[in-house]
Symmetry: C2
Subunit: 663 residues, 2 copies
């Protein structure tokens, strides 16, 4: 098979599959919710990240290797800090591609090349590249595969080089050459006759797959396949958290659900899809789809967040999803999107796009502050006490849940968010032989060719998620029949599609209009955006008797800051109940444009219960009073805000799941 995907400016470009991804030169997000975030990302976050990479000395680690001064004690950062530089480079590459020719692009280009030069100088003659291993005074190469992260770092290097080559083909900065020399080295070192092991943290699998796709070098794909197949046979040393932590407990094709470290599990699954697709391995694809489904059905928060354990940043058992201390690492959300996106390209099933949307709005968008210079590492669903306010100049030693921090000792999340936002246009739409599919809703221009070579161009107009109206205007269409497909999210029962003056109800999945289109034709999707109560499966014990409030793709939250009077203090906040007989009312926007919708709900604060032992023969507190709610507890209204915007008004308590009156 020939690899012919080098020129599509997208992070994932399989050589086969149901759908072809579009490059960020084919799709531009032109306004709205995601464009705002792309702008903040490009204008604030990227510089913020580079500042911290310098400040913490993680960039200087490369200079030390170049200078041969590795035998001192001076290296800074954790063993995987190189990867943050590579994710930063990947983000900048996408950003340069996104903004196109401009002053800002030129400035980014200068910064990009300067960093690449420092990376290049640290590469050994044989291609080895790592600032923590393999040099004088350091541990030998590949001597600590469980925790060393050498291959993990290279995976991110490869993704950066791929992003660069796809957005600036043939650029003379040298990054692709660096990546290829490193990749050739590990093909030798870990190939069929090499070290029969793999990296404790999956990532090189996706990196190698895409590097193979962009260069046409199959040896990279073959090594990626070896890494996927080797895992699961108890090759790595056992560790405190068990081998499931790095998915070395069960072979990928035998597993039934994601488990262990949630980022690792999803990165691995994403790489396995790449390999399965390239090798036409239907059995492996099927196994991965089943794992995806059970993970979504039983191990995913309502936000799309994954991973309930702090200790090992890991998935819990099925139904083990307490809101308390929900970990829901930002990077796990991004990794889940990587996995889902690959399955979407392979199989064209709206459920993958549904989860991507849910995770984008409620995990990825939640992480950065409005200014784009502080981040949630973990994304809890229930904050019981306001955290300590952090300092914008201080690194956070821990993944505080209540306060966004500018940087972390483990700082994977900020550059991961940055590369995701910079490349986000690539996740909006796809094409196949007969038409165009719109998966995510944002104001956009799309200008591409279908799988059979016919040109098509459309404009998307929408202020989604403010409203559910999505207008697709045809700018250029082939002379003959084609299809336009718009995703109808699973929550959007009752959605309608308006074409040529006639409206029809469309079911969740894809609403497809197939006809001869002309320039100026309009398709209008209307999604019902009425706020809704959501109730959990009874097997999720920790949220029994509670509801969440959702509107469109956004999960809403109750936050104490901004509440006044009843319910606003921590003590009262713990005794709030919602009257779910009263439908949430939309109260319009408050404050800045970006703050999103506000929903007014009917609450009460349960009268203070008796203190003392909290386990009694009779119900206490809330339940005590439930039959006399009107007498004992005043009902009041309060506003919920989109979860992704919580924590922007100072430290606060917060909860997504609200106990219902008398539950």
């Amino acid at each position: 098979m020939t690899l012919t995907t080098r020129t599509i400016a997208a992070p994932v470009v399989p050589t086969s599959g149901a759908l072809r991804p579009l490059g960020i030169d084919e799709v531009q997000i032109t306004g709205g919710f995601w464009h705002d975030r792309q702008q903040v990302n490009g204008e604030a976050t990227l510089a913020h990240i580079e500042h911290w990479l310098e400040k913490e000395g993680w960039l200087a680690n490369f200079d030390r290797v170049a200078a041969g001064s590795t035998d001192t004690e001076g290296r800074r950062g954790r063993e995987f800090s190189d990867s943050e530089i590579y994710k930063y480079l990947e983000a900048v590459a996408w950003e340069i591609g996104r903004v196109g020719d401009s002053v800002r692009s030129a400035e980014l280009e200068t910064r990009f090349r300067a960093v690449v030069d420092r990376v290049a100088a640290a590469q050994d003659a044989d291609g080895y590249l790592n600032t923590r291993f393999g040099h004088a005074g350091q541990q030998p190469r590949w001597s600590e595969l469980e925790w060393g992260h050498e291959l993990y770092c290279l995976g991110h290097l490869f993704q950066a080089a791929v992003a660069r080559e796809r957005t600036a083909p043939g650029a003379d900065d040298g990054l692709l050459g660096i990546a290829r020399r490193a990749a050739d080295l590990i093909v030798d070192a870990f190939g069929a006759d090499g070290i029969q092991s793999f990296c404790g943290h999956p990532e090189v699998e996706v990196g190698l797959a895409e590097l193979g796709r962009v260069t046409g070098d199959r040896s990279y794909l073959e090594l990626s396949a070896l890494f996927v197949e080797r895992r699961g046979h108890q090759t790595l040393k056992d560790i405190e958290f068990g081998r499931a932590y790095f998915q070395d407990d069960i072979p990928v094709r035998d597993a039934t659900v994601l488990r262990g470290h949630a980022v690792r599990a999803n990165y691995l699954a994403a790489g396995a899809v790449d390999i399965a697709v390239e090798n036409s391995d239907a059995g492996l694809v099927d196994a991965l789809k089943k794992q995806w489904q059970r993970t979504v059905d039983r191990r995913t928060y309502v936000t799309g967040g994954q991973g309930s354990h702090h200790q090992d940043e890991a998935f819990g058992e099925d139904w083990e999803l307490p809101s308390d201390r929900a970990y829901s690492e930002t990077c796990a959300g991004i990794a889940s999107i990587m996995f889902s996106w690959r399955l979407l390209l392979e199989g064209n099933d709206a459920r993958y796009a549904d989860l991507i949307e849910r995770t984008l709005f409620n995990v990825v968008a939640t992480s950065p502050s409005a200014a784009g210079t502080a981040f949630f590492y973990a994304n809890t669903l229930h904050q019981r006490t306001p955290g300590e306010a952090g300092s914008p100049d201080e690194i956070s030693p821990r993944a505080l849940s209540s306060v966004r921090a500018p940087w972390f000792e483990v700082s994977c999340c900020p550059p991961n968010v940055a590369r995701t936002f910079a490349s986000l246009a690539a996740y909006v739409a796809t094409v196949d032989g007969s038409g165009l599919q719109l998966h995510q809703f944002a104001p956009a221009t799309i200008n591409t060719v279908l799988g059979d070579g016919r040109r098509v161009a459309v404009e998307v107009e929408t202020d989604y998620p403010r409203s559910g109206r999505v207008v697709v205007r045809v700018v250029e269409a082939p002379a003959d029949e084609m299809s336009l497909s718009l995703r109808v999210p699973s929550w959007a029962a009752g959605a309608t599609l308006l074409v040529g003056g006639s409206s029809r109800e469309v079911a969740p999945g894809y609403a497809t209009e197939t006809r001869v289109f002309s320039a100026g034709d309009v398709i209008e999707l209307n999604l019902p955006m009425r706020a809704r109560f959501t109730r959990p499966d009874s097997r999720i014990d920790a949220i029994r008797g509670s509801v969440a409030v959702e509107r469109g793709p956004e999960v809403f939250a109750l936050e104490s800051s901004g509440m006044e009077g009843l319910g606003s203090n921590e003590e009262e906040f713990s005794r709030i109940e919602i009257d779910d007989r009263v439908q949430p009312a939309e109260t319009g926007r408050v404050g800045e444009a970006d703050a999103g919708a506000r929903l007014t709900v009917s609450l009460r604060v349960v009268p203070e219960s008796t203190e003392g032992w909290p386990y009694a023969p009779e119900l206490r507190a809330a339940e005590d009073a439930s039959e006399d709610a009107d007498e004992d507890a005043a009902t009041f209204t309060a506003e919920l805000l989109p979860y992704h915007s919580w924590g922007n008004r100072g430290t606060s308590t917060m909860r997504i799941w609200l106990p219902t009156v008398g539950a």
Copy 2:
């Protein structure tokens, strides 16, 4: 003030307080639930522990120091492994005291002295004693107070020496001398003019306090007070978990609740009570009582277990008590008993004895296997999947919750259980100037003198907790009036006291009979042992809509192993609901005598719900079917067993909190 408490054979002997503790020479447990455990502890657990201390090389660490071979890499175990040897010595000392003159006692004596000799040989000339620090090739003394555990280890040494001196006064084994030399050294090193810091893990505070009490040397108490007062001022370095982890966030007397690492928090609080009592510091006592109360009201599981976080073995916020992954470390339960017991002695309030009983039956008794050779480190309240069966010969790298392990890399729990069981008689009863108080119910002989010197002897007959009948028979009584007080647990509303043929209802607290007693007089307490449903405070979100079943002091659990047919597989087990309109029925004993009561409850398995995204507008699974329960789900009965005996029938799923039908 004179310290005059050296001769009471009990772990805690304050010089003042409302109640005087009784030594294990004054109280013997003669049969029943706790005697069985004491026997297993003495006959199996102690030898098991010594075996592992040798096998893992933790005892040999002392030999290495004695031989001056510390500059090699050979030391085994974690930095606190010395403490396990000291806890073992403490347990053996109590056990020798418990069994009295006998062949077994002589054998224990030999083993005890052999270990003491090895410890003695490792002590430096100036009294310093630690196998991990302070010698050639090791880090210097006191160079890592956050994590080094040097003072922590000495605290356990002091408790061991105290146990020995109180059970074998003046013994020539040398242990007390070792302890005093080490204590004198740290009085110099950390005294008022010494290092202005303290140990990351509290424990030396209680050790020093008791060593002061047993030797009459006030400098030990004064150093203990310094350690208590120094903590809370951010002296130790900040760590990933924050300074609350080792209680260096808030001074002890300013804190309002226990927080951070649950063992550390309780050990510190126990030491602070000791200091407060010795210094007549009513303000400190009051602060500690308030901390105890809020911790019990808001941060304690129904089992008495404390600490909900795995990551930092720490308390959660108020009401953060998910059954999922409840950590509830065995040692935290023991530490909580240490704290409660000191408050009981100080203030004579039944609530402290109530929590001790709850924690003994449902945390401490849960840890060891029936054979006494495997232990739960953590005590989860909800086991969703059966764990892997462990090996009896294999150390556990992790605190598995579903399987008891023979030993751990951090193996604090087994010797902590052992010393608690061996000294348990000391927690049964107390005296004051006017009478005797019975706090825990077990067949026992008590032979002591009241605070005013009058002799009293009683026998306690009971098969508690099988029945609630507790008979106290007077064997010897003073000629004039005295009081006999029996605790009435808080759950025992409707209890009656039968004296001289007349019965009266007695309220929770203490039922006291004051009169002139004669030999042969009998008081009979009857506690209502009907099984009861217990419901949680609504602020504990994670168990809303569920009930627990309790009977007497025992919390019951549903375990899948032993269930047959409906509900016994993991998938069905996750869909079980209880019909709480049907009172649990006692079905008598099954199997071995010690297995405890069985309670039959009415359950149903909710019909399998639709798979797919588990958050929907309508209730799913359980709730879907609740109105048609009779049609959709067959009701069946199953037996609950005491939580402390779960996990003895093979790997299993288990839950304490059971969702109620239609909740």
